[in-house]
């Protein structure tokens, strides 16, 4: 039934589109309109309208859930379950609740999430850049083999290491219920970031290295003084991407932080809040308020630095972009 109605809608749109073009065509053939008007009316304008209509429809589909969440977060009382889009009156009661509630402690979760994300992204990017430099600018035997092996580890499905890592962190390192498993492994760098930064090191002219060495720098000095400052843009992009990823992650905190409330991150707090919504007596408007609070940093960061976000999305694939 629904499929039929949707189909009907598209058929109607198509009929309107082709009907319009046909009508223009007929008018043109009869000599009622001129060549230039025909091209404009019969070709350019309907195509424009169709293209922008599709794009606007998808934009609405993308924005509407966010808008709904924001508007719901301002509702209170019975209004939450009303089938209206806009709240009767904009109340801040949900935001006051999620930001000040002691049990939920969203502010602490927020600070925790950001503090866990900083070290792995900053240090991890630097260690990855180090490896990327060694694998692209230094000459030693077996360099490409090492790169191939490292690249191959990227293809190993994460599900294999999920449980043994958990056991190792629990039994050998004794890190369970502390944030260390979220921080320490990331600081050693990651192959994905290394692969991406290697691409940008490879694009750097070799003469720069030579010039640095003539000026008395060691290879390590070349990396620190020449290569790193020149590729600051991709490094920054990877840091932003990594930071956003670490901030948004909730599976690792769920696995390793468990129920230790003092270490909880904001995503984990929201997940716990949502999954125990009924028993804790919360309603969806409060969850939405918490979600909006959690989304703000990501979206602000994205709009401030969308060039880095979207640019690195392209080059991370290693394809020409």
């Amino acid at each position: 039934m629904i499929l039929f109605k949707i189909l009907l809608f598209f058929v109607a749109v198509a009929a309107l589109y082709f009907g319009w073009r046909l009508a223009c065509n007929v008018l043109f053939k009869k000599g009622k309109i001129k060549d230039t008007t025909y091209r404009l009316l019969g070709n350019t304008i309907p195509l424009y309208v169709l293209e922008y209509a599709v794009l606007l429809l998808i934009t609405v589909c993308i924005i509407l859930p966010f808008m709904y969440a924001v508007l719901l977060s301002f509702k209170e009382g019975k209004d939450v379950y009303a089938a209206t889009l806009f709240p009767k009156k904009f109340s801040m009661v949900n935001y006051r609740y999620v930001l000040t509630d002691d049990y939920l402690d969203l502010i602490r979760g927020f600070i925790n999430a950001i503090s866990y994300a900083i070290l792995p992204t900053v240090v991890g990017c630097l260690t990855s850049a180090m490896a990327a430099f060694a694998l692209s600018r230094l000459n030693f035997k077996g360099r490409d083999k090492i790169f191939a092996v490292m690249f191959a580890t990227m293809c190993i499905p994460g599900v294999i290491t999920l449980i043994p890592s958990y056991i190792m962190f629990a039994r050998i390192y004794n890190w369970i219920n502390t944030p260390l498993p979220l921080i320490i492994p990331g600081m050693f760098g990651s192959v994905g970031v290394m692969f991406f930064l290697r691409q940008s090191f490879l694009q750097m002219p070799k003469e720069l290295d030579e010039a640095g060495i003539l000026d008395g720098l060691s290879k390590g000095g070349v990396f620190l003084r020449i290569a790193l400052p020149l590729t600051w843009a991709p490094v920054l992009a990877q840091m932003l991407l990594g930071f956003n990823g670490a901030y948004n992650d909730f599976m690792m905190p769920l696995l390793y932080l468990g129920s230790e409330k003092q270490w909880s991150t904001i995503q984990l707090s929201i997940y716990n809040m949502y999954s125990s919504m009924q028993s804790a007596g919360n309603n969806m408007a409060q969850v939405m308020a918490a979600c909006v609070v959690a989304l703000i940093p990501s979206i602000v960061l994205f709009f401030l630095a969308q060039k880095y976000f979207m640019g690195s999305g392209i080059s991370a694939s290693g394809l020409k972009g």
């Binding site: 509407l64 490896a131 056991i167 190792m168 492994p185 969806m284 979207m310």
Partner: protein
């Protein structure tokens, strides 16, 4: 003199290579290689985290392949076999079509690109909560929309509808990546190819299938590969929206997260290894098949 200098330089390179590569190599050894070997060992044992592992041979694998006993894993396996290919194909199709549309539009393609990319940077927990409300069977906007369209009592999380609901949600939150990569690839196609097609009198559809599609085949291959690997291991959206145990990774994980004290760690390692091998085989197959349809020489 010259030779000694060259040798010194070579030694210096080796020294710096060791220093610079040390952290990442250590990371791979400690957090990838050792866990895998450990997991292979544990999958042959019975282990409960308190007592040392006891060797049990193939017991765990026998239990996994005992279809009458192990139903949870195979049910999730069936779910993901429907979800992952559909999700990958949907993402690629929508991404390619939209990117194609965006390259045609003269004004505002940058703005649309940014808007379509927003859900990608958002946290899975928050978007899943939003969609859990959208899909709520009484108050959710989607239910209200369906009612307006004449469909009563449509439960988005009923077993027969849940895959469609999740597909739509994941498409909403993920197609920005595919669109972005295709957009970049489409911009790289030289105009002469389109001019040639025009001179030959090719229709728009034929131009798409004979010019555009072959030219972006490396991107398609990349998206197919990463999409399949990622979607076969999808879990966070499912867990956050409240479908615990719906995908294989969640089943594997449930034996570590909730199975504390049970004798299930060896078993979950066996499951993880089996499923990881399955994903790996799919990835290798993808590489093998790519020779027949991906044109690397043209880009």
């Amino acid at each position: 003199m010259q030779e000694a200098k060259l040798k010194k330089r070579k030694n210096e390179d080796i020294f710096w290579a060791v220093v610079l590569l040390a952290p990442l190599t250590l990371a791979i050894l400690l957090f990838v290689a050792v866990p895998i070997l450990y997991s292979i060992y544990l999958s042959f044992t019975k282990y409960d985290m308190f007592n040392p592992p006891q060797w049990r041979g193939l017991d765990n694998y026998r239990r996994l392949f005992n279809f009458s006993m192990e139903t949870q894993f195979w049910r999730s396996f069936k779910n993901i076999l429907i979800f992952a290919p559909l999700m990958t194909l949907l993402g690629i199709t929508v991404g390619l079509l939209l990117a194609n549309l965006l390259t045609k539009v003269k004004k505002g393609s940058g703005v649309f690109k940014v808007i379509f990319y927003i859900p990608v940077v958002c946290s899975v927990v928050a978007t899943s909560c939003i969609w859990a409300w959208m899909y709520n069977d009484v108050y959710g906007p989607m239910s209200i929309l369906f009612k307006a369209l004449g469909i009563q009592d449509y439960n988005f999380f009923a077993p027969r509808n849940v895959i469609a609901s999740m597909l739509f949600m994941c498409l909403w939150s993920g197609f920005g990546i595919q669109m972005l990569l295709y957009f970049a690839a489409l911009r790289n196609i030289p105009d002469q190819l389109y001019d040639a097609a025009k001179i030959d009198g090719a229709s728009a559809l034929r131009t798409f299938f004979y010019v555009t599609f072959p030219m972006v085949s490396p991107t398609t291959f990349y998206l197919l590969l990463t999409g399949l690997i990622g979607n076969l291991q999808a879990y966070s959206q499912f867990l956050a929206i409240g479908l615990d145990g719906y995908t294989p990774v969640l089943v594997v994980y449930s034996y570590a997260g909730h199975g504390y004290g049970n004798n299930t760690y060896g078993y979950s390692c066996a499951m993880g290894i089996f499923y990881g091998l399955f994903v790996g085989v799919i990835a290798v197959l993808n590489f093998r098949l790519s020779k027949h349809w991906v044109g690397y020489d043209i880009i």
